[in-house]
Amino acid sequence: MEIVIPPFDLKSISPILIITISAMLILVADVFFRKTFRDSLGYISFLIVVLTAMVACTQMGKTVYSFSDMFVVDNFSVFFNLIFLVSTAIVILLSVSYIKQEGINYGEYYTLILFATMGMMLMAGGADLLTIFLGLEIMSISLYVLAGFRRDCVRSNEASLKYFLLGAFATCFLLYGIAMLYGTTGTTNIKEIASFLANNPSLSNPMIVTGTSLLIIGFGFKVACVPFHKWTPDVYEGAPTAITAFMSVGPKAAAFAAFTRVFLVALPDVEQKWSIILWVLAVLTMTVGNLVAIVQKNIKRMLAYSSIAHAGYALMAIIAGGDFGSSSLLFYMLAYTFMNLGAFAVVIVLGRKGKENANIEDYSGLGFKHPLLAVTMCIFMFSLAGIPPFVGFIGKFYIFSAAIKNGFIILAIIGVVNSVISVYYYLRVTVVMYMKKPVREFAPLSLSPFVILALIITLWGTIHLGIFPARLIDLAQKSTLLY
């Protein structure tokens, strides 16, 4: 028997390669040259991510299937890769001083973050359910560990355990769904599933229907949509704040990338006829997220619920479907990356070792003590609430218009109502900052140059992309799966 190993198309996976190899090198550097590299690991990984982003940019504009159709590079995956890399870069900047302050300054931290990023890139570029699954697992396993990275902290342990048990549980459903799709179509390749379904009506086949539902559970868990969302607030609260920031953005985008690819490419008729079920999920997700966020006292939990609500908006983009819908999803994910990471950056700046100061009341009077920081926070809150001229507004407007355009008017109305509700709790943060007397003295801020850079990047994204979104929208429209 002759074995012909297919050619390794290294060019198409170059971003993944760079990330993986450098992750390993960082580990090596941490182990063997600890003294030399100890403080510059974060700096190095940041540069690596920037480099990777540059390499990823060069991949724009072509569609290449490689490794016997296991992996694909197209504009869609490149756009998502950029989202992941931006979020990873910002998170690394946020982490540098944070992990020192928390006493968890180990090289493994960066290695795992880079591995998680690599997993996300696999999810976005996976052209086979197997690749998507493996990517999801690499990402999840890294995150389980990162969530529990503060080993001496019970809350961190708890977050890690909850995330792990529920994540593994949800993965089983995902796998069962994949198995059912495999059993009925005879393949796990997305393109082949699509062509099989094009020839055989899938909706009459109960096993495909069930398999798809199971996939919804699996992906729904990762994007934290109701009723699979419950891990989110607990895990977000317990995890180290920098990791919470990471989890709220990157993995969510990755899950949406896989979700979109599977549903728009492999199961197009499902995407259309299932809109009613996704519709209900989206409405539930938005509403529950926003309503519960109102009564939260801890800002990390509040942001967790808000991220659930935002998942609802993004789900709306998938339901809207078509060119418009998927480009609005792309735009929104990037917009959300900037504004949400920015909000978490402020939370990190205000945190202390052993004292996170994460209760909203702790922000009382911030507007007088640290006016610049408070203004920054306000901008992120307004952007998250969808108030112009910030990027969140354009993103929401884009999604809602897509929904209206494709006939989901009621869904759009519910979305708008929800964004009205959401103003209430985002505004509360600003109210507390500007309209309450400080409850106690603020400790000096832990502002390192890295965090400042992160704040500048996120602010730039939030404001600049809000006022001049034209080019990004252009890019997003060129990056949809259905050109």
Partner: protein, 100 residues
């Protein structure tokens, strides 16, 4: 051919047993074992489909699922050990500091 259907039903039964186990057990390790049980049932489904379709892809998938299961086992057990060190319990009902 009929037999394959029964293999699949067996897999479904195992999956449900595992799921129920996750819901009703309080020992984190046992919950994890129930998850392994669910993974096994998925494997059975894959192998059955693979045989039914005369294709090897399902078996390869099982191979990868086992790899993932091993990875998850390593991390999961490490997490359980970490939490046991801090709280001296593996009862998931006692591990609910964060709620509401």
């Amino acid at each position: 051919m009929i037999l394959f259907t029964w293999y699949l039903i067996l897999s479904g039964v195992l999956f449900s047993i595992g799921a129920v186990g996750v819901l009703i057990r309080r020992n984190a390790i046992v919950i994890f074992m129930c998850i392994e049980l669910m993974l096994n049932s998925v494997n059975l489904a894959f192998v059955t489909f693979s045989r039914q379709l005369n294709s090897m892809d399902g078996q390869i998938f099982v191979f990868f699922i086992m790899t993932v299961a091993a990875a998850e086992a390593a991390v999961g057990l490490a997490i359980i050990i970490a939490i046991y060190r801090n709280k001296a319990t593996v009862n998931v009902d006692d591990i609910n500091l964060m709620k509401w």
